[in-house]
Subunit: 405 residues, 2 copies
C-alpha cells in the first residue's frame, strides 16, 4: 500500500540479501539453518528484528519468479512473469515489448519418441556442457536468422537449456508447449506447438518451421538432435522500483534468472564474477553509486534441490563467514532472508515460511541470539507476507513519511 506521496528520499542505503532456498525442514530434529554453526549471524540476530515471511500464501510453494516479485513488493498474483521472459533477460537479452520469449532445450529424439528430454544435460562431450551448448546454439543462430519475416534470436543457457526470442509485432503466446513432460516414462511422444486460438496460427507456423529446421541442422548430433519449447511469454508491464519507491536500485547475482528479474524491475544489473566473494567485491565497489542493493546467492537452493542437507549446512556456514565484510560496509538497513525454502528433505522449493532478519538502528530487538526458523518464529515481526518486506525496509530506512494527518 505504499503510495507515492508518502515516499521520502534520503541518503540511507538498503541491502537486501537473498539466500536462495535458505529455509529448511528438520532432519533428526533440526533444520539446515538450526544445525549450522553461524556465530556471525547469531550475533547479528541479537541486534536485529526477526520474523518469518510467507512467500506467496499459506501452503503455496513458489517458483523463483513469483517469490522474488513478492519480496520486491510486487504482488505475484497481479504481476506474472513467464519463464521464457526470465530466461531471456537472464542471458542478457534486452527484450522489447513485442518479443515472444521461449525457454528451449536440447533433447534426444528417435522416430516420434523423445528418449531424453534433456539430451543427457549435454554431458559426455570433450567440451563442457555449457561450451557444447554455446557451439550448438551458435550453429542454430547462424542458420536461423529469420523465418517468414520474423527475426529469430537464439542464445545459450546453462547445460541443455537455451533461449529463443521471436521478434516481430503481433506474435502470440497462446500455443501448446512441445515439452512432453518430466515424468519417469521411458517413451515420450513428440508434441507440436499447436495454436490454441486463431491469433496464434501464424506464430505456430513459424515455430513448426523453426523446429523442423533445427532438426535438420542438428541431425549429425547423436544426443542433442532435437529441440523442445516451453514457457512462451512476453515482457510484463511492471512499474520500475525507481517509479514505485524512488530508489536507485542495483542487483548483484551470478545466475541469469535473477539478473533477469532485477533488470525487469528497473535495477541496474551489475557485472560480477560468479562467486560469492566476487559478488561481495562487486557490492563493495558499487556501494556509493546506489541506495538499494539486491544481493543474490544461489547455491543453497541447489544443495536443497539435490537433497544435500550437509552441503546446504556448509554453504550457510560459508555465508556466515562473509558477514563481517558485509557489516563493515556500513549499510543503514540490512535484510537477510530467502525467496522460498528449499528443504533438503523435500528436494524442491517448499511453502514453508522464510527466516527473515532485519538489521536497523530503528528496529525492535529482543535479544534472540540465534538466526534460524525457530528463532524467527519467536521473533518480534511475527509471520508475515513477503510482499510487505519492502515496506519494512523503506520504513526502517526512514524513507516513508507519515500516512495521513
Amino acid at each position: 500500500m505504499i503510495e507515492e506521496e508518502i515516499i521520502s528520499q534520503n541518503e540511507k542505503k538498503i541491502l537486501l540479501i537473498v539466500l536462495d532456498g535458505l529455509g529448511g525442514l528438520p532432519v533428526e530434529g533440526k533444520t539446515e539453518l538450526e544445525v549450522a554453526n553461524t556465530p556471525n549471524l547469531d550475533a547479528l540476530a541479537k541486534n536485529s528484528s526477526l520474523g518469518l515471511t510467507w512467500p506467496i500464501d499459506y501452503g503455496i510453494s513458489p517458483g523463483s519468479g513469483p517469490a522474488h516479485l513478492a519480496l520486491f513488493g510486487y504482488d505475484p498474483m497481479q504481476f506474472r512473469i513467464g519463464r521464457g521472459v526470465m530466461e531471456a533477460l537472464g542471458v542478457g537479452l534486452e527484450i522489447t515489448n513485442d518479443d515472444l520469449c521461449i525457454r528451449a532445450n536440447f533433447a534426444t529424439k528417435k522416430g516420434n519418441i523423445i528418449t531424453d528430454p534433456r539430451a543427457g544435460r549435454l554431458k559426455g562431450y570433450e567440451v563442457s556442457p555449457d561450451e557444447k551448448n554455446r557451439q550448438l546454439t551458435q550453429r542454430l543462430q547462424e542458420a536461423l536468422k529469420e523465418i517468414k519475416g520474423v527475426e529469430i534470436i537464439i542464445r545459450p543457457g546453462k547445460e541443455h537449456r537455451f533461449v529463443i526470442v521471436l521478434r516481430q509485432k503481433g506474435l502470440s503466446i497462446d500455443l501448446e508447449e512441445t515439452d512432453p513432460g518430466r515424468n519417469d516414462k521411458k517413451e515420450l511422444l513428440i508434441k507440436e506447438p499447436k495454436p490454441k486460438s486463431k491469433e496464434a496460427e501464424f506464430t505456430a507456423e513459424v515455430l513448426k518451421i523453426l523446429i523442423e529446421k533445427a532438426e535438420e541442422i542438428l541431425n549429425t548430433e547423436p544426443k542433442a538432435n532435437y529441440i523442445l519449447l516451453r514457457g512462451y511469454s512476453k515482457k510484463p508491464n511492471l512499474p520500475s522500483m525507481q517509479e514505485r519507491y524512488k530508489l536507485n536500485p542495483a542487483g548483484i547475482a551470478a545466475y541469469p534468472m535473477y539478473k533477469g528479474i532485477a533488470s525487469l524491475l528497473g535495477m541496474k544489473v551489475l557485472e560480477t564474477k560468479p562467486t560469492w566473494e566476487g559478488e561481495i567485491d562487486c557490492l563493495e565497489e558499487n556501494k556509493d553509486k546506489f541506495d538499494f542493493f539486491y544481493l543474490h546467492f544461489k547455491e543453497m537452493d541447489m544443495k536443497g534441490e539435490d537433497g544435500d542437507f550437509w552441503g546446504k549446512v556448509k554453504l550457510i556456514e560459508k555465508f556466515d563467514g562473509l558477514i563481517p565484510r558485509i557489516l563493515k560496509m556500513g549499510f543503514d538497513t540490512i535484510a537477510i532472508t530467502s525467496d522460498h525454502s528449499t528443504p533438503a528433505l523435500l528436494k524442491s522449493h517448499s511453502w514453508h515460511p522464510n527466516p527473515f532478519l532485519l538489521f536497523s538502528p530503528y528496529g525492535r530487538t529482543y535479544g534472540i541470539i540465534e538466526f534460524n526458523e525457530k528463532a524467527c518464529a519467536q521473533g518480534n515481526l511475527g509471520i508475515f507476507p513477503a510482499l510487505k518486506v519492502m515496506q519494512l525496509l523503506l520504513a526502517h530506512s526512514l524513507k516513508l513519511k507519515k500516512f495521513g494527518a
Copy 2:
C-alpha cells in the same frame, strides 16, 4: 488462492478432526484444554506444527455453518448457507436448487401468545422427545402434502425441532421469521410470515396456510399445538471439494447439521453410530476408500454451551484416549482443531482463535510438548485465518505443485 493447475493428486490421506467448540477461556487461570490431562495430545504436539486460527475475523463469533465453511477453505463471506438448508441436509433430505428450506419447531400457544417457543422440548411424554417429534411430524406430513400446488416435505429433527421443505420453482426466502425470539420474556406475541418484497407474496401465502393447517392438526396437543418457522433458505451454489481440491472426501459426524455441511461440499457422508467410538470405527472401516476425512465430535461444544467447564475437560480427556487408535491408522496428514471456541465461561460460541495442530512428516516442529491455547500461541504457524487450513493440509500432503516458475 488455490488454482486448479497447481493441484496435484496423490495417494496421501488427510484427516481433519474437528472438536466442536474446543477452544476455551481461563477459569481460575486455565482453560479447559490447559487443565485437561492429555498425554497423547501433548506427545503428538511435540512432533507437530502448532498455531491458532481465526475462525472468520478478529472478534467475530461464528455459527457452525460459516466456521466450517472457512475450515474447508470456502470464504464464509462469499458462500452463505442458511440454517434451514443445513437442517434439511442434516435429516438426510436431498434438496434441489428450487427448494425453500425452513427450520421449524413445535411451540406452545395460548391465544395470541407463545407461552413456550420450544414446547417443553417435547419432554414429559410416555415416549422420548425424538419419538414424539416423529409422531407429530408424521401427522403433519400425512395431512399436508401440498398447498396451492407447492409440494410440502416435513421431516423430524431432534427434540422440538423439525424441517419443512417447500418444493417448487420461484419460491422466495424474503419473508419474516415467525419465531418470536428466545429471550426470557414470559409473553411472546405470535408473528406472521410477512413478505418483505413483492416476490415473496405467494410464498408468504403458502406458509400462512401451512401454519393455520398445522394448528388445526395439532389442536389436540396440550403442549406442541403450534409451529414456528425460521432460517428460510435455499441451497447455495458451492463448488464441491472434488472440483476445488481434486479430493475424494468423506465426512463422519453424529449430528445432522455437520452431515449436512459435509454433503453440501460434496463429501460422502458415511453411516456411523452416533458415539465417538462409533465414529472412529467408521473411520477405520472406510480409511482405504477416501483420501480426505472430516471427523466431527460435537459434545465439547454442548458442554461449553451448558457452562460445564469440568464436563468439557472430561470430554477432552476422553478424546485424548482415542488418539492412539487414530494414529495407528497411518494417515499422512492429521489436523486437530475446532470450528470455533465455546468457552464454558461464556456459555456460547466465541471469537477466540482455535488451537490448531498439524501432524505431518513435512512440518517444522519445535518440540513444544503441550497442546492447548497457550502452546499454540507460541507455535511456528502463528495465528492465521482458518480459511487457509486446507491450503496447509494439501501442501503438507504434497498435493500442491509449484506456483509459477
